[in-house]
């Protein structure tokens, strides 16, 4: 291919006129090239260091002091707070509740989300409407919905006991020591299924139609088409929903605060709620900092475990 270069001045002028060079204003302050990245980046990194990294590190240090809220005196106590809180029944209880809550919400809301997404994806019409309905809980203020749920769970007169009380033979879930956490888990599932479904739907749009049709022509049944064609495309979405659902379950605070205030007794006190009770309500920063450290390590552990082991295995399964 030959390129004819404009040779005459007139042609050059013509080309130049057509190109309409953008007139970039000269910057008022001219930084040396070297400093430009620093100027553009440092506000963001500085604020992250100040409001995320530094506090996360400080939490470990705050736990080394005793904070007397009345006198305002701060005394160094070494690992006393760690020893006291880590062995306390309150922390063990909150840790157990948090893990149990995660166990009751993560598998069900991820599987439920996948099911809803596969269903919606198979529809020829009405997909937008169903997606919108299932997504509604994500767009609604959670504490307001938690208030509605508390009213639904109201003993005897509430909607839940009206409908299911006779079937299950148990009423007043939120005031029962063994069912209160399960009641909160129902709300957690209700809130997350639609969000997970939306993530899976986004993944399912990446499934190749030609592969689906080829599989169909080759006589693959619905299950095999799902397992060998759709599933590999949505494996990353699965990892993502599991990570997001787990970390949000570990941080659960709002529904417990509105629906049960951590009760009855301590039966729905999660780590985040215990942290709030200690640090904000009782201004016992030493104890709260230890709980913070525990929650922090738990979050890191789960993220690392899911990303490294489970996550890569799932992703590899996706590239069979």
């Amino acid at each position: 291919m030959t390129v004819t270069l404009p040779t005459r001045t007139a042609d050059v002028e013509q080309v130049r006129a057509r190109l309409q060079p953008v007139d970039f204003p000269a910057p008022r302050v001219r930084l040396p090239n070297r400093l430009e990245p620093v100027a553009l980046l440092s506000p963001a990194i500085g604020l992250l260091l100040l409001f995320v990294v530094l506090p996360a590190v400080l939490a470990f240090a705050i736990a080394l002091f005793d904070w007397s809220p009345l006198s305002g005196k701060i005394t160094f106590v070494g690992f006393d707070n760690y020893a006291r809180i880590l062995t306390s029944p309150a922390l063990r209880n909150a840790l157990g509740n948090t893990l149990l809550y995660a166990l009751m919400t993560v598998p069900t809301s991820v599987a439920g989300g996948l099911l809803v997404a596969v269903g919606i994806n198979a529809l020829t019409r009405g997909r937008v409407i169903w997606r919108a309905i299932y997504f509604l809980p994500t767009a609604a203020v959670l504490v307001a919905m938690a208030a509605a749920w508390r009213w639904i769970f109201y003993p005897e007169s509430g909607l839940f006991d009206h409908v299911f009380g006779g079937l299950i033979g148990r009423t007043g879930w939120l005031s029962s020591s063994d069912l209160a956490l399960a009641g909160l888990a129902i709300v957690g599932n209700w809130q997350n299924i639609g969000y997970n479904a939306v993530i899976f739907l986004a993944g399912l749009t990446g499934v190749r139609k030609d592969l689906q049709e080829a599989a169909l022509l080759d006589g693959a049944g619905a299950w095999h088409r799902f397992w060998h064609v759709s599933w590999p495309a949505i494996a990353p979405a699965t990892v993502f929903t599991i990570v997001i659902s787990t970390t949000s379950a570990l941080r659960m605070f709002e529904t417990a605060q509105v629906m049960t205030r951590g009760g009855p007794g301590e039966n729905t006190t999660t780590l985040a709620h215990l942290l709030w009770q200690q640090g904000i309500r009782n201004v016992d920063f030493g104890s709260a900092a230890v709980t913070t450290v525990v929650l922090f390590l738990l979050c890191l552990l789960v993220t690392a475990w899911q990303m490294r082991g489970f996550g890569t295995r799932l992703e590899r399964a996706g590239s069979r």
């Binding site: 430009e36 553009l40 980046l41 409001f51 269903g119 203020v141 959670l142 639904i152």
Partner: protein, 271 residues
């Protein structure tokens, strides 16, 4: 492949059953909100009388309008500042080469894994020393730099072909001009999606306000609602549901109008 009409109907039916569970709390909230207080604890599902008294009570007891305004101010300030701070950072991390680049990227990725609950107590202590607890800045400051926003926008900027940046540079654009004239117009859809995500998250957030707020002066909608619903109204569920309904209505209207942006904002997080 032709979908089987019976299978289609089956899927619709199954989705409808699930949708009943999804919609039940909304329906129950609306029904209760319009039921007179003395009939709230009756048997039967549909109210026999219709009243606005619950809403009147809420507006008498709760400064709803102030909560709305506070929420709008807080969420708007957070998002506005996030764009100003995070977009340049995202561009720098995506396209500029400099010393400390990988360290900065590492900081951003680490911050992605640290939830707000972890920083609550240390920031509470910091803000109480600075004397800014219970103020608007205490609601906004911690969220101005969003690791998630930086990460997301960086992913988008990486999809812009390098030739676009080369062209801008040849035309004499330095970084700032490239950012405002080239990057911003191209990533606007991502900024809008992130905006929806950020706005909705902070509008709905209750944890952070419950850490830094004390009074109702700067109370956002969730903080104000919980105050009323959990402490002040006892068992007047009619008024509670009216307040809850007032809390969720603005975003639900927004969702119905801009459904696509909402869902994009929440699902682009997964890509």
């Amino acid at each position: 492949m032709k979908p089987h009409p019976l299978a289609q109907a089956g899927i619709h039916l199954a989705l409808a059953v699930g949708a009943v569970a999804i919609l039940a709390p909304f329906v129950w909230m609306v029904l209760t909100a319009f039921t007179p207080q003395d009939q709230v604890f009756r048997d039967g599902f549909l109210p026999t009388e219709f009243t606005l008294a619950n809403f009147a009570e809420v507006f008498r007891e709760v400064p709803m309008l102030r909560y709305y305004i506070n929420s709008v101010i807080a969420a708007t300030m957070i998002f506005g500042l996030q764009v100003i701070v995070c977009l340049p950072a995202a561009y720098t991390l995506a396209r500029l080469r400099f010393r400390g680049r990988s360290l900065s990227l590492w900081i951003v990725l680490t911050c992605l894994m640290i939830p707000t609950q972890i920083v609550a107590v240390p920031i509470y202590l910091l803000f109480s020393r600075l004397g800014i607890l219970d103020t608007m800045p205490s609601l906004v400051l911690p969220f101005i730099s969003s690791a998630f926003g930086i990460f997301l926008l960086r992913q988008f900027i990486l999809t812009i072909p390098q030739s676009v940046f080369d062209a801008a540079r040849l035309d004499g654009a330095r970084s700032w001009a490239t950012l405002t004239r080239v990057v911003f117009p191209l990533v606007k859809p991502a900024v809008v999606s992130f905006g929806v995500f950020s706005f909705v998250s902070h509008w709905n957030d209750y944890f952070w306000p419950s850490v830094v707020l004390r009074s109702t002066d700067n109370a956002t909608v969730p903080f104000g609602i919980v105050r009323f619903v959990s402490f002040e109204s006892g068992t007047s569920y009619g008024a509670q549901m009216a307040a809850a309904l007032l809390a969720i209505v603005p975003l639900l209207i927004g969702f119905l109008i801009a459904q696509r942006q909402f869902i994009a904002g929440f699902s682009l997080t997964s890509d």
